[in-house]
């Protein structure tokens, strides 16, 4: 599966919020790191569920968290893996990419959000977990 959360801002109204999306790869499984063909640019899967605060399209993306994991992975496993990897590996630049077990993460944000990057990552992750929980 591919799950992602975006902080977006509307160019017309200035409304800002976090949208989250949950895609399924359709039972495609792996044991080690996610295979290249499961990466979102290659094959994000099909959209299964979403949670939209600021309706697309055309909103500017200020930050995003991408997660690739086997379909059906509980949100708490993803949260644990991301907390583990970010406690060990503080990036020197964004976007940052981390691989942990069967999970792949990519986190990008604009410069103004860097001083609060941990808080931003937590917010995005909460939104990813929420959209997985509703699916």
């Amino acid at each position: 599966m591919y799950a992602t959360a975006h902080r977006v801002v509307s160019p017309t109204t200035g409304a800002e919020g976090i949208n989250a999306f949950h895609y399924l790869h359709g039972g495609y499984e792996w044991d080690g790191p996610p295979p290249p063909e499961s990466m979102p640019e290659t094959d994000p899967g099909t959209l299964f569920n979403d949670s939209v605060a600021v309706p697309p399209p055309g909103n500017r993306v200020r930050s995003y968290l991408d997660v690739v994991a086997p379909d059906g992975t509980p949100a708490r496993e993803i949260e644990r893996a991301l907390a583990d990897v970010t406690s060990r590996d503080v990036p020197g630049s964004f976007p940052a990419v981390w691989t942990s077990g069967r999970f792949w993460f990519r986190f990008g944000l604009e410069l103004a959000l860097v001083p609060v990057w941990r808080q931003e990552l937590r917010l995005l992750l909460e939104n990813v977990a929420a959209v997985l929980g509703r699916s």
Partner: protein, 92 residues
Amino acid sequence: MTDAARRYEELTRQLLEGRARGEFGKGSPGEAREDELLERMDDCWWEMSEAERDEADRRLEESRRISAPDELDAVDVKVPSGGDFMPRQVAA
């Protein structure tokens, strides 16, 4: 993390974002708002434990060593249910 530390983090975020957007500064329309944020941050600071203050300082220092683009070159796109493409793309 205590409530004070959480509030401090959120207020820091609001302050830095306002400054990055050029909303704050002496004589600006946002000056009063900036002062209010600073005052509330100060209140939280004195409610926080020494360890939380050290952690807040450490994280701010850590962030100064991380680079990132001024803006992401990305916009979102509408994906219908069952759609098989990402919900964002490179801005035109």
